[in-house]
């Protein structure tokens, strides 16, 4: 119980810290929403009109900072996120985020899970077959792929599969704009085709890390006494590999996986940018380009909450699976 409370306390404190950074950062930096809006309207409006516009968009420029801060914290928790003051001026942020979220979750989430599963399997096999051909080549290959810049892999894939092949695979957007969304084979197929290149980009750059850590965990685990014991007892190799070694080697990777799931909604900004994929990462880039403060604040808050929640869940899961970690607190 004490453990749970401690973790929840940490959760609250981190969230508060992130939200506070998020609130004060724009206010310490040059510029203001008023100026952002002035720029947006090409300096055509009078200051009074600009203020009226800001006020109707939910901003209170003359309010005391303390009051603004409390208001802001309240709004973040109640989902009263206001409206964009950037390129989608006037559009409710919940609506914008709601449109973008499924695409990011679908693309980045699936690619991350696939990379983790594939990486883990390859890592287990490589660690198990130490000294095999696989193990001689794979680590070097994956050291290289895991150090490649995301966006460059994306550019390469576009060049090879889209530019050189005359548009064999689509290199931008989530589906052809002449299609109406719906649950029909044509639309779903189109969505999948559009997801291939960006998904592959994430997969290629993410899989290496999982392979390497899994292989190393596997090797360390295989040296443990209980494995030798198992071998001495004459257990089947398969059984040792999957039920004894892989399981235990897998546990430390779980928390890493939880973190990366949390980073799913924010982690692929560059990929979404390269492929013009209309997800949350692209939204953030766009918000930054247009100094859309409310948008940036909401996105940053969401990104932090996502990581926190997944880390928290993973902590509880680990504590439940492995009593030792509870003691460490």
């Amino acid at each position: 119980m004490r453990y749970v409370l401690r973790r929840l306390g940490f959760f609250a404190l981190t969230l508060w810290a992130a939200l506070t950074i998020n609130f004060f950062l724009p206010r310490f930096m040059p510029g203001s929403p008023l100026q952002a809006l002035r720029a947006r309207t090409y300096n055509k409006l009078s200051p009074a009109a600009l203020e009226e516009m800001l006020t109707s968009f939910g901003y209170k420029p003359h309010e005391n900072v303390g009051v603004q801060y409390l208001d802001y914290l309240g709004h973040m928790f109640t989902g009263n996120w206001g409206v964009s003051i950037g390129s989608a001026l006037g559009q409710p942020i919940t609506q914008i985020v709601g449109q973008a979220l499924p695409w990011t979750l679908g693309l980045v989430g699936v690619a991350t899970v696939l990379a983790f599963v594939a990486g883990t399997v390859i890592g287990v096999v490589a660690g198990w077959r130490r000294g095999g051909t696989l193990d001689a080549i794979l680590p070097s290959v994956f050291v290289v792929t895991s150090a490649l810049p995301y966006f460059w892999v994306g550019l390469l894939l576009i060049l090879v599969f889209s530019v050189w092949t005359g548009g064999w695979l689509p290199s931008d957007f989530n589906y052809d704009s002449n299609l109406q969304p719906g649950f029909n084979p044509e639309f779903i197929g189109n969505v999948l085709r559009h997801a291939v290149l960006p998904g592959l980009t994430i997969f290629i750059t993410a899989v290496g890390g999982w392979v390497l850590t899994m292989r190393n965990n596997m090797i360390t685990t295989l040296a443990e006494d209980y494995i030798r014991m198992g071998r001495a007892k004459g257990l089947a190799n398969r059984k040792i590999m999957y039920q004894y070694a892989a399981r235990n080697a897998f546990l430390p990777n779980l928390s890493g996986f939880a973190m990366s799931l949390g980073f799913v909604i924010s982690g692929a900004i560059l990929v979404e940018y390269v492929f013009n994929y209309p997800g949350l990462g692209y939204l953030l880039y766009n918000a930054v380009q247009n100094t859309d403060y409310p948008m940036m604040q909401v996105l940053f808050m969401l990104f932090t909450v996502a990581v926190l929640v997944s880390v928290l869940l993973c902590d509880f899961a680990t504590a439940w699976l492995d009593p030792r970690s509870r003691a460490k607190g």
Binding site: G131, P149, W152
Partner: protein, 306 residues
Amino acid sequence: MTALLTTPPAAAAAPPSRRRGAFLRSVLRNRKALIGLVIFGVFTVMAAVPHLFTSVTEPNKLAFPPALPPSGDHLLGTTALGQDIWAQLVYGARQSLVIALVAGFFATVLSVLVGVSAAYLGGVADEALSMVINIFLIIPTFPLIIILATYAGKGTLTVVLIVLVVTGWSYGANQMRAQALSLRNRDFLESARVRGERRTYIILAEMLPTMTSLIVANFLGAALYSVLTAAGLQFLGLGDPNSISWGTMLYWSQNQQALQSGMPLWSIAPGLCVALLGVSFALLNYAFDEISNPALRPVRRRRATA
């Protein structure tokens, strides 16, 4: 035991020098490390004496006809604005290397400082510092970097460096703290305390040398992170677009749609350089891991070589 007690300086000095020799040998014997070192070496030479590689002295000057294909005069052709791509590549090495080394260095220093002090001080100080480390670990870094860089107004080298250090130290600090914690109650530190040495002395002269391998690994990791992140930032246009660096080249080529308008080298070449520099750090890091943890080394198979 007594020998150790009476001659700590010699003992502290001697093993590292011996280790260093051995380390060098094992690096040279490790193929990954060797490849990493060679790539790094080539880029270092490029950064130090760019004029050995190209006759162009002002790579950003619009000195040539635009969009030339690769030729003897222009190894990789020219940009849509009329700059020599090869020359930009050569001169771009400097900034990427500086970012990698400087940001890597300061991030490592910060992680050592925070991590080791947390572990050594213990108690409330440790609680507080761990909390800070954990918060920085969890806050999504790349979005934060983008927001910071935007608010800072313009992405000069200093801004990019500061942002990288601020966001890049926490992972290492966590590891430092863990290792320092495991060292805390070792005999040689206990004995130093008994001798009445000052804290700073104990940390600097006793603890840090034993953590060298972790520190080096951390530096390499931070350098890799800095190279990739800085290139990403510049690619998005959050760097200084008039500077000469690989990330900036990527930004310009992307804006001029180099891939689609028949100048793919403009885009692919700087990306490859970023990738190569990243790979060199990753290879060194991995090789370093293998050297300090022999269990991970590839098994040499006689069958295959015979």
